[in-house]
Symmetry: C2
Subunit: 231 residues, 2 copies
């Protein structure tokens, strides 16, 4: 109950992090040092250290003499994402199958329980964070310091892109989410069986599903109305 400045600092770090993942803090949004330091009950010095760290992890961008802002999502974001994601995801999941420890597998199952729970009665934020957590653990399992930075960066924007289409809740979406959950189960099984090839293949499939959802959202069916009606 007695929270030290250090506790408040890490709470600050976590809250900002999650707020960015769930679009509560929108891309390119400016962060007010004075305001946030007051909100979290810490001085500007440790807050600025949190900024630096989040910046290093890809959550924030820092510009000299102009403060921190949430990492932007530009018109090139999706293209870059589509190029990098399948390669890195497949590699991480393959390595996860090769290197996962028993404790990590237990953690992954627990994360999947939380994810299913969020599908039943959670908000879009809950689902996004639970899904993020699931894949984060596969990153732990892979335990390759060189692939991890890009993987983490992908997870950040995957969460943010996902949030944009988790919001409008349609039946088609629900179906896809349930399919995603089944794929998680299959991935867990492959990792537990140390089947690297299967893990990589499942990661690829999982990516294709997500890619399809993104494309549907980015390029929806035309409105099929005569132009005159819109005016």
């Amino acid at each position: 109950m007695t929270d030290s400045p250090k506790d408040r600092k890490s709470a600050c770090y976590e809250q900002i992090r999650k707020a960015i993942l769930t679009l509560e803090l929108e891309p390119s949004c400016d962060l007010d040092e004075a305001q946030l330091s007051e909100d979290f009950g810490i001085s500007r010095t440790p807050l600025r250290e949190v900024f630096r760290q989040l910046s290093g992890e890809g959550y924030l961008e820092m510009r000299a003499n102009r403060g921190a802002r949430v990492s932007a999502m530009t018109h090139t974001t999706l293209r870059d994402f589509f190029l990098a994601a399948p390669m890195i995801y497949a590699a991480i999941t393959r390595l996860a199958a090769g290197n996962a420890t028993a404790a990590q597998i237990a953690a992954l199952k627990e994360a999947q329980r939380s994810f299913k729970q969020s599908l039943r009665n959670g908000s879009a934020q809950d689902r996004t964070l639970a899904n993020y957590r699931f894949h984060e653990i596969t990153g732990d399992m892979a335990s390759n310091v060189y692939l991890r930075p890009s993987f983490n960066r992908l997870l950040i924007d995957h969460a943010r892109i996902g949030m944009t289409f988790y919001r409008p809740h349609t039946n088609v979406m629900a179906e896809k989410l349930s399919l995603a959950s089944e794929q998680h189960d299959a991935i867990i099984a492959a990792i537990e069986a140390r089947d690297e090839a299967a893990a990589a293949r499942l990661a690829e499939e999982h990516w294709q599903l997500s890619r399809g959802q993104i494309e549907l959202f980015v390029m929806p069916a035309a409105l099929d109305l005569p132009l005159g009606k819109l005016a």
Copy 2:
């Protein structure tokens, strides 16, 4: 000539960075806040921000209440490196061929000039930094925010691994370096021709050369002496 605190701060950042790349600061080496802040003429506050940034980029590791230390090179480093490097290098170089701007190509040629210069009459440090710079520019060219973090992380340890065998200067080494330089020229040509396939292939070859050098150093020929002689 009149250097502001901000100049000293960025000088500090650059010097520490290069010292790590060239092994002047050895892996797992502890950094003394008080000492460094005095050396660079800045207070501990901005120095700690530099630490955070370098930590985010993979140069340093920070432990709570125990200061910063240079990123470690463990027994798993080479294995992780061999798994990740060919994939990321090929991807980055391919993208570089597709996206390079005229200014970036000019910068790459300039970096290659510096590299050749360092081969003629530079130290191991000079060569390592010049080679680092060359590949860093290919990272700029690729301009994919998701692949960049892992690519940068690889470049750091590639520089450090390279330094360990640039030091003893043999004729075989000199030959390999001259071959590496030729490969750089070929990569520049492929990028300028926008030939993505060739660029990816050349990156793969370039990696194989480097991999061979690393393997030679890690697993040298046995000393070919009767065991008794060693005692």
